[in-house]
Symmetry: C2
Subunit: 547 residues, 2 copies
C-alpha cells in the first residue's frame, strides 16, 4: 500500500515541522504575535468585540465533544481563535473594566512570560529548574521580608536551606489558603508520644488522640469562599468554618468572635485557626489584625491572614499601617496575579516560622529526595511553571517605590470615586473604601430618606426592588461592553439585611476619574430602560405610600 | 519641596510608561523576544550554558531577601535574567534531555501562549473569561470522550450545562488526583438521613456515621507521590494509603491487593478508592485496569485511574488496548503538560458520571452564583489562567492522528533503546518498556551472571556498590550537560530488593536513535572516572571471591 505509506510519511513530516519550523512572521499567527508585541493594548481593543454576544451563541462554536481526527493548519486554527475565542473574550485590561481583580499588565510581563514558556522549567525539582529554584526561594524570602520585616541576618540560614522553605509558591490564593490551613491542622495534631501525627494517622485518630469532637476555623462572613473549600477538603467540614458577623465597616466583630469560640468550647470543638482578612474580596476592608493576633495567642491557635488582595499595601509608607498586626500572623497569603501585576496563575503563602512547612513535607524516590533543594517537597502542587520569575521581575523592575505608587493611586482613586458617588443624587455608597474596593447601588436620595425611616418590612419591599434594579443595571452594562462593574450580595450591619450592590475594584493605573464618571453616567442611562423604569416606579409608589 | 515633587512626577511618568509603552524591538528584552519568535530552539541552545554550574554559586545571585527599593531599567534586569537565570536554567526541550517528562513544545504553542497571557482571562467565572468558559468545557468534554467513548448523543445535555462539569481543569496532576479522591470521599460520605454529608459535617462525624475506623486508598507501590499528599490533605492519613506490591512488570499484584483489603476489613477500615496507574511515573507500566475495575465494583468503591502520563496512549489505534478498562474508571487524570505537549501548568481530571463533581460544588455571592456557568464552582482551585486554550489548540492542530504518531514513535523508540541496552555488554535493562519509559543500570554482563547465582547478602553487597555507580554516573552526566537521564530507587520483584536505576522518558519527537546511542557512549566514558573505577574494582573483587 504505497499510498498509505506516502500518507504516513507526509504526516510524519508535518509533525516534525510543527516542532522545528517557527511560525513565519507573515503567517496569521505570526502576525498576531507581532501585533501583540508591538501594541498589546491596541490589539485587545481591536480584536475583542465590545458588545457582548449571548453565551449560548458562543457555545455553538464549542459544541463537538470529538477531538478532530485530522490535523488542522495553524493558520486555519488561528482564524478560528480570532473569530470565536479572542473576539468574545473579556477585555480584563481595559481601564473601564473595574469590576474584578484583573488589571492591565506592565508591558515587560508579556515578553518575560514568553521567555518563561519557552524555557518551560518545572519548579517541582532542581533537575528541571536549576537557577529557577534559587530564584523562587528568593522571591519567597522577599515576600517573607515584606510581611515579617525580619533583620537581614535572619535570612541567610533559611533562604536556600534544603530542609526548609519560607513559603510556598502556588497557582493562586485558594491553594495558598489551603496550604496554610493544612500546615495549621498538621501542627495542631503533630506527632505526640504514641500518636504519630495526623499526616500519618488521619483526622479520625487525631480527634481521638486529643479527645475532641472537631476542629474549627474562624473567619468573618466576608472571608473568601476558598476557606469553605479548604474546610471541606481538609476534612473539617463546612459546619466548622465559623463565619463571624462583621461590624458596620465589614470587619470581623471581635466580641462575636469570642462568643463563637465559647460556643465551640461548649461543643468540645478545638479552634484550629483564626483567619484575618487584609482586603476582603467584596469590600476591601481589613480586619483588626492586632486584636485577632492577641486573640489567637490567647487561644493558642494558628493565626492566618488572607492578604491575597491587600498584601501589597505593605509597599506603601502611607498606608502600610492599615495592615498592622500582619507581622504577627503565622501565615500570610498574597496573590501575585492581583496587586503584584503578574499574569493569572500566581499565589504565595509565607510562614513566620521557617520550619512550619515541615508539617506537610513529603518525599519521593525519583525526585524530592531528602537533602535536595527541590521546592516540590513543601508544596501542595507537584509540577509547576516558573511564574515566580514574573514576580521577581516585578519586584526588580517596579521596585518597592513603584508598587507604592500603584497602591497609593488605587486607594486615592477609590476615595475620589466614593466622593463622586456620595455627591450623586441617584447613588448610595454602601461601603466606604478602606483600600481600593468599594460597593454602591442605585438608590435615589429621596428613597434613601424613606428607607432610613421605614420599618424592616417596608425596607425589605423597597430593597427587593432595588436589588432587581442593581442586577439588571450590572447585566446591561456588562453586555454593552463599554465599562464593567461587578455585583454581589452582602449583609450590611447598618441595614440588618442583605443587599445586592455594585462592586468596584480600582487597581488599574490606567483608570482615570473621567472613566469613573463615565461609569456612573452610563448607569444613569441604563436605568432609563423600560424594564428598570417599571421597577423604579414601583419603588416610588412604595415611597409615596410611606411618606 | 519642588525637588521631591519633580521626583514624584518622574516616578509616576515612568510607571505609566511600563503600562503603556511596549518594549522596543531594539531593546534587550525586545531582541530576546524576537530571537525566541524566530528560532526558539536556537535561542535555548545559545543561551543555556551546557556545563552545569554549582547550585551554591548560582544562589549568590539570589541572596538578598529585600525587595529593591528603586525601580530598575527593563534592559538592566533583562541582562541579569540572561546571565543568571536563563544561562543556568535547564534545557528541558533538548532532544538529549530524556530524563524527565518535559519535551520540546510544538512551535505554535509559544505565540498562542503569549496570546493567552495577553488576554489574561480568569477561568473561575464567565465574567472574566466569556468564550474561554465554553472552550474549556469543550476541552473537558473532548477528554471525557477520549476516555469514555460515549455516543455523540451523550454530550449535548452536559457539555455546557450550568449545573454540572464533566471534569476539572487543574494546574497539574496532583490537583487532578486530589480532586478525584476528594469527590470519591464526599460521595462515600454523602448526605444520608440526619447526616448532612462529610462536606458539611467533617470526617470525624462521617466516620461515626458509618461506624468505621478509617477509610483507605489502595494503589501500587509505583503510585505517584501525590496520592500520599492527597491522603494527608483529605484527612485520611498516610497510613491509609495502602501501597500494594507490584509484580515483575511493575504492575499492581491483584492477589496482594485482595489480601490488603481483607486486612482493612479486619481493622474496620472502609476502602474509599482503588487507584490504577496508566503509565507509572518511574517505569511507564500500566496496571491491569480491567481486573481493578472488577475489583472496585466488587468492593463497591471508587475506581480512579492516574493516567497523567499514559492517558494520551488512547490516541493510538495500535496501543490503545494497553489501557483497556480505563473507560470503566469513575475518574481519570490526564496531564496536558506531559504528552499533550502543552507548556507547564495544565492537568485535567474527568469523571464518568457527569454529576460526580456535584459532591464538591461550592458557591459565593459575587461569583459562582447558582445557575451561572462559572467553572469555578466545580474546581479545587479558584482563579486560573486560560491554559485550556493550549489543549484546545493541540487537539485541533495536531489532531487525533498527529498525537497517535507521537505516541507510537515514543513507544517504538523506547523499544529500540531497550534493545540497545540489552545488546550492550555493560548495561542491564531493569524494566522493559511498556509505554515509552524504561529503567536500566550500569552492570557489566559478568556481574549480572554472578548476581544471578549469589545469595541475598552477597547480592546486597554488590548492588550497594552498583547503586553508588549509578548515582555518580547520573550526577556527572547531568553536570556535563550534553545529555540527561534521571535516576530513582525501586524495589524490583525479581531482585527482591531496592536498586538505584537510571530512568529514561522518550516523548520528545526530536530524540533520535543516534542521541540514545550517544547517551550510552557518554555513560561508558563517565565510568572511566577514578571515583567510579574504584567502585567497580570493588565490585570485581566481590565477584572474583564468589566465582
Amino acid at each position: 500500500m504505497p499510498k498509505n505509506r506516502d500518507a504516513a510519511r507526509a504526516n510524519l513530516e508535518n509533525l516534525y515541522r510543527i516542532f522545528t519550523v517557527p511560525e513565519s512572521p507573515e503567517s496569521t499567527l505570526g502576525a498576531i504575535d507581532q501585533a501583540i508585541a508591538d501594541d498589546v493594548a491596541g490589539f485587545l481593543q481591536t480584536h475583542i468585540v465590545a458588545i457582548e454576544r449571548n453565551l449560548e451563541e458562543i457555545e455553538t462554536h464549542f459544541a463537538s465533544a470529538t477531538i478532530p481526527e485530522e490535523p488542522t493548519y495553524v493558520s486555519e486554527y488561528t482564524e478560528f481563535v480570532k473569530d470565536h475565542l479572542v473576539a468574545h473574550s473579556v477585555h480584563t485590561a481595559a481601564p473601564g473594566f473595574v469590576g474584578h481583580m484583573t488589571s492591565a499588565l506592565p508591558y515587560f510581563m508579556l515578553p518575560l512570560a514568553r521567555l518563561m514558556t519557552a524555557l518551560n522549567q518545572n519548579l517541582v525539582k532542581v533537575e528541571t529548574s536549576k537557577a529557577f529554584t534559587p530564584m523562587e526561594r528568593q522571591v519567597l524570602a522577599m515576600l517573607h521580608h515584606l510581611v515579617y520585616r525580619r533583620d537581614d541576618d535572619f535570612y541567610p540560614p533559611w533562604i536556600h536551606n534544603s530542609q526548609y522553605a519560607l513559603g510556598a509558591f502556588c497557582s493562586g490564593g485558594t491553594i495558598a489558603n489551603t496550604t496554610a490551613l493544612w500546615v495549621a491542622r498538621n501542627r495542631l495534631f503533630a506527632p505526640d508520644g504514641e500518636f504519630r501525627g495526623i499526616a500519618q494517622e488521619g483526622l479520625g485518630r487525631a480527634l481521638q488522640h486529643r479527645g475532641c469532637d472537631g476542629v474549627a476555623v474562624l473567619v468573618s462572613e466576608r472571608g473568601h469562599y476558598s476557606f469553605g473549600k479548604a474546610a471541606d477538603l481538609l476534612g473539617l467540614g463546612r459546619d466548622n468554618l465559623i463565619k463571624v458577623q462583621t461590624d458596620d465597616n465589614n470587619r470581623i466583630d471581635v466580641k462575636l468572635l469570642r462568643e463563637e469560640c465559647r460556643r465551640l468550647q461548649d461543643r468540645n470543638i478545638l479552634p484550629l485557626a483564626v483567619v484575618g482578612i487584609a482586603g476582603t474580596t467584596e469590600t476591601g476592608n481589613v480586619d483588626p489584625l492586632e486584636a485577632l493576633a492577641d486573640f489567637a495567642l490567647e487561644l493558642g491557635c494558628h493565626f492566618h491572614v488572607d492578604a491575597a488582595w491587600g498584601g501589597p499595601t505593605l509597599f506603601s509608607d502611607r498606608y502600610r499601617s492599615l495592615l498592622s498586626g500582619i507581622e504577627r500572623a503565622d501565615s500570610v497569603t498574597i496573590d501575585a496575579h492581583k496587586q503584584l501585576y503578574v499574569p493569572m496563575g500566581a499565589g504565595m503563602v509565607v510562614f513566620r516560622d521557617p520550619t512550619a512547612l515541615t508539617a506537610i513535607e513529603h518525599h519521593a524516590n525519583y525526585i524530592l529526595r531528602h537533602g535536595s533543594k527541590d521546592l516540590g517537597s513543601h508544596t501542595l502542587e507537584g509540577s509547576r511553571p516558573g511564574m515566580a520569575m514574573l514576580v521577581h521581575a516585578g519586584f526588580s523592575i517596579i521596585g518597592r517605590k513603584g508598587y507604592e505608587l500603584l497602591i497609593d493611586m488605587g486607594i486615592e482613586r477609590a476615595r475620589t470615586f466614593a466622593d463622586m458617588i456620595r455627591l450623586h443624587p441617584d447613588f448610595e455608597l454602601t461601603s466606604e473604601p478602606e483600600l481600593n474596593i468599594l460597593t454602591y447601588r442605585y438608590c435615589p436620595r429621596a428613597v434613601q430618606r424613606v428607607l432610613a425611616a421605614a420599618t424592616p418590612e417596608q425596607r425589605r419591599c423597597i430593597n427587593d426592588l432595588l436589588d432587581q434594579v442593581c442586577m439588571l443595571l450590572q447585566k446591561h452594562q456588562r453586555e454593552a461592553g463599554k465599562t464593567f462593574v461587578s455585583r454581589t450580595r452582602l449583609r450590611f450591619a447598618s441595614y440588618g439585611e442583605e443587599l445586592t450592590v455594585l462592586r468596584v475594584v480600582l487597581a488599574n493605573p490606567l483608570t482615570t476619574d473621567g472613566i469613573l464618571a463615565a461609569v456612573l453616567a452610563e448607569q444613569c442611562e441604563i436605568v432609563q430602560l423600560p424594564e428598570i423604569q417599571a421597577l423604579l416606579r414601583k419603588v416610588e409608589e412604595h415611597c409615596a405610600a410611606l411618606s
